[in-house]
Symmetry: C2
Subunit: 601 residues, 2 copies
């Protein structure tokens, strides 16, 4: 049986020592996040996820969800009880606004809980996870009445929420949706259509499910400019807040998927269901992006999640399993063989995993701080700056984070050899669960185009210039330090590759936009590599400072420095190769027509 321990020491390092969250006490909501409170939240959330959610992970994979003839869905054994505990403990309310019953604490702590729960049990974490996005959309665009009706119960976990975008013939291209919303004359609409791939679309965890649904009103423009957003509760809500009649939405089937079996991925049939418009008519896409941006960061965290749990289990296996001898001579002569931990190729995979998970955790929590600053920083300039940086980092966190997270989970399965391929050990599940993160909430190809086609050129490139400035300054400062200089110099080279790639886009993409499309994936990876490098430079700096004070857990800080060195040695070189691929442009990529791809007999 695979195991999971929440990496609370590393999380406290990032939150307290790297981000120094307590120093933001002057921001609203942050005053309650005292050092004691921060540590308590991290430690208790970690305990809860490891003890309550993790043991259900494999059960969820094996049992999956069951749809009954009446369209109702049963979640895997234990999920209901665990959700009850999750709800009662209030873990989902930590960073939600106080006016709707949340605890109003920093998003940094909310992200910590998202990580721990997704790592312990991704399929489970998706039930409350998608609700966060749905609630964010209602909060941003809903009417006061809608907010009052739905938000307190969604935030408390009494009800859960979903996001309904995809239809059988359209996913990325939402301008093509066919679901109709016809006015009922009383302010409500009759929603009719079929939505697919709806995560947590139907289940037995709560009495009501609040669906947020994209649909088209009669005569709406035939494009993304003709989409509106509707709130459609599974059970209609009476004026006094009590539950009324069942609405006309039902689960037609559950998808059989490669992984995340514990989450019910539904086909939802809307058959004249009653819904209410959220925000303005034909402006549904903007509302959708509110949900989407929150969801994309959540998926980026999931990229970390499966890599982390797979890594923990691979470390345990590598220390336990004995095969062969160390290349430098037997390490444990009294045993018939050494633990495979001694083999460089095993260590390579473990170090890759350690460098990625710790680096990506730092990045995700920095992004969480930016979410907070976007809303709460004291000046408009600071808020705008945080917003621009967050917009730039979001596709990188989602796209690079899940590509690399999947690769790391696969490597950790590799550490197990044949035992990794049989389901018994649980490593296959981590890989199968991780695979969806590269696909949902916008495939990673969509993330790459969001980064390169939208975020890079936005406001004359202000955000990327800000990123370059910030990275350049930190590198410059680190170069002044003897110990950090070798790390900083390598990072400077990789940053130079990114800057050159950016310049190449500027000089070539206007003339042929396919050059941008052809290099977007490479660019996203270059930026991911550089950004994690920046996290490692920051972590090395903090570790160095702490070590000067002769701390008790010297090993922890020394490992940070050694892992930073490994990261610069083994991750950064790819930046140069990616830049060369990007600069090859679209010509050889787009040279061939359809007929050249046919398999000729």
């Amino acid at each position: 049986m695979p195991t999971y321990t929440a990496p609370t020491r590393d999380t406290r390092f990032i939150v307290n020592e790297l981000l120094d969250l307590a120093s933001y006490g002057n921001l609203p909501g942050f005053e309650s996040a005292t050092p004691d409170m921060i540590d308590t939240v991290i430690n208790e959330a970690g305990k809860f996820c490891a003890e309550v959610l993790a043991p259900l992970n494999k059960i969820g994979d094996e049992h999956g969800c069951t749809r009954h003839d009446d369209g109702s869905v049963t979640t895997p054994p234990g999920f209901r009880e665990a959700f009850e505990q999750y709800r009662e403990s209030g873990w989902g309310t930590i960073s939600q606004p106080e006016e709707f019953g949340g605890q109003g604490m920093p998003h940094v702590l909310g992200f910590v809980i998202e990580e721990f729960s997704a790592t312990a049990n991704q399929a489970f974490a998706m039930y409350p996870g998608l609700t966060t996005g749905a609630a964010a959309a209602l909060q941003a665009q809903g009417s006061d009445e809608q907010k009052a009706t739905y938000l307190p119960k969604m935030i408390s976990g009494e009800w859960l929420g979903t996001m309904n975008l995809t239809e059988p013939h359209c996913g990325t291209d939402l301008g093509m949706i066919r679901t109709k919303a016809e006015p009922n004359g009383d302010g409500s609409y009759a929603i009719t259509g079929t939505k697919i791939f709806i995560s947590s679309g139907e289940h037995d965890l709560t009495d009501n499910i609040i669906h947020l649904v994209l649909a088209k009103t009669p005569g709406a423009p035939d494009s993304t400019k003709g989409i509106s957003l509707f709130v459609v509760p599974k059970v209609l809500v009476n004026e006094d807040g009590s539950l009324g009649a069942r609405n006309g939405v039902s689960c037609g089937s559950i998808e059989e998927k490669m992984g995340i079996h514990g989450n019910s991925t539904c086909v939802l049939n809307y058959d004249g269901a009653t819904g209410w418009m959220v925000g303005e008519e034909n402006r549904g896409l903007a509302a959708m992006f509110v949900m989407m941006n929150a969801a994309r960061l959540g998926v980026g965290i999931q990229g970390l999640a499966q890599a982390e749990v797979a890594y923990q289990n691979a470390v345990a296996y590598a220390l336990d399993r004995r095969q062969g001898r160390a290349l430098t001579g037997p390490a444990e002569l009294e045993e018939k063989a050494d633990p495979i931990f001694v083999h460089p190729d095993v260590r390579r995979m473990l170090m890759d995993a350690k460098a990625f998970t710790e680096g990506h955790r730092a990045l995700c929590l920095w992004a969480a701080l930016l979410v907070d600053l976007t809303h709460k920083a004291q000046t408009e300039e600071e808020r705008d700056e945080a917003d621009a940086l967050l917009g730039l980092l979001t596709p990188v966190i989602k796209g690079y984070g899940t590509d690399k997270g999947y690769a790391v989970a696969t490597d950790m399965q590799q550490v197990f050899g044949g035992h990794g391929y049989v389901e018994e050990w649980g490593m296959s599940q981590f890989v199968r669960d991780a695979r969806i993160t590269q696909i949902y909430e916008g495939t990673n190809g969509v993330q790459a185009m969001d980064l390169c086609g939208r975020k890079l050129p936005s406001k004359g490139g202000a955000a990327i210039q800000e990123f370059f400035k910030l990275a350049g300054e930190e590198i410059g400062a680190a170069k002044e330090d003897e110990e950090l200089a070798p790390l900083a110099e390598k990072l400077e080279k990789a940053l130079g590759e990114q800057q050159a790639a950016t310049m190449w886009f500027m000089q070539n993409a206007m003339q042929n936009p396919n050059h941008l499309g052809a290099g977007a994936h490479h660019y996203m990876h270059v930026m991911g590599i550089v950004t994690l490098g920046l996290m490692w430079l920051r972590m090395a700096k903090v570790a160095q400072e702490k070590l000067a004070g002769e701390p008790e857990d010297k090993i922890f800080y020394e490992a940070k420095l050694a892992t930073a060195r490994y990261y610069m040695d083994r991750f950064l070189p790819d930046a140069g190769a990616l830049r060369r691929k990007l600069e090859a442009g679209a010509d050889s990529m787009m040279a061939l027509g359809e007929e050249a791809f046919a398999t000729a007999a």
Copy 2:
């Protein structure tokens, strides 16, 4: 439902135009491989695999194999009948020796059939596939009586064979095996022990199964120098060749695996089963390597296989699925959206797949020709040269071929977006099936060490020097040609990276063997990239020559040239990054002790 068409045009290009197989007519066995015969074998084998084996692939995944209480195993519906057809058609006998009932034709054609069958249905192809390795071991090391008893029926497919190496506590480190072989006094041995992960270990396809089993005789040295190989038939064979009593070997359970569900992966319990030693006592490892080398090439072909079928289905989907518009403006104005084929990021993944599968196919079939030359070339020098080159290429074909094959299959799943993640479309199966190829017959970490620790230094580096010479000469010749020069120059640079990496190993690995272990994976990938580059240079040259003759299928040859350019643009840059990682050495990789990997709470 996924589909498969055997890429017979490409295969004929490689066999006839690139390798020019008919020109080897002076070698024994090759005289029957006339141009007509070659085309007939390729075309008919392709038809058989596409029509008979491919339709059973998803059925095999869904049904899996069933073990009954008596230990017998039922294969998925249709497998028995398909195997009957496979046996009757003689596809398995093409390149087997005539003295045991084979057709004695070149291995090149045998490899073609291995590819088509593994692509159509990997789980099915493994039943006859492992028999090939078992038969090779018997042929190389068995007594005349053993050969006469087993080989004709194994080659005809009347019986199938298995390879029994792994035990619960040991896989890679075979010196640790515990299975015992005690002399019965009549020349036979009583075999007792447990073997796991035995592919095709028990099934209903044939009346008998011939197990080749590694075991230890009493008092044998406690290392790989104490292993002997035994032949242990499931049903004992009477002197007249008829079947006798059931032997003491039984299937204890079937593993639940991530993929290849259609193949029965068994725990086999040997309970005093009667076996006969194959070859000399304590020399079982040498015999095992005969099986293993054949099996490793077979697995390298499987790396190609799942990438190929996933690619074919992704092309069809990309041409059918409409989402969004081309970046350069709508391609099909009369439709609501363009096929996703127009998007550069989709094309990037398809071109990666095309460049890999066609390049790796050329490499595998070149290796098959080397297998033939190893046995049949006219001078000892030619035979030795072929053998050295084949030894060098085998771990690259297996290790790089399956790492990249898995990555390509995963990319092809990505082309499908959410539809790739649901089992209905079949893309998940290709990825799940492909995943085992990186693990079995020696994990890819083992392949990397075989390449760098054994093959590189062997005979003073003669094989790698020969490879450099051969690649250097072809590059030099191509640089003389105006059209090929840009390709050749890029390849020359990548070859230079490999040469520098080789030199770095020579200068550093003696002093610290961990430097070799730390870079072996990177080296294997550098060599894979360079070797496929060499294949593309060769293919470009042939395509150029053909185009000069104004051929009918101009599109085919033009696509070869365009794909060669793409390969040089998009695959070769990684060679430089891998060299830089390799030259970082073992220090930062091995710096941390066990305690630094513990998850601290």
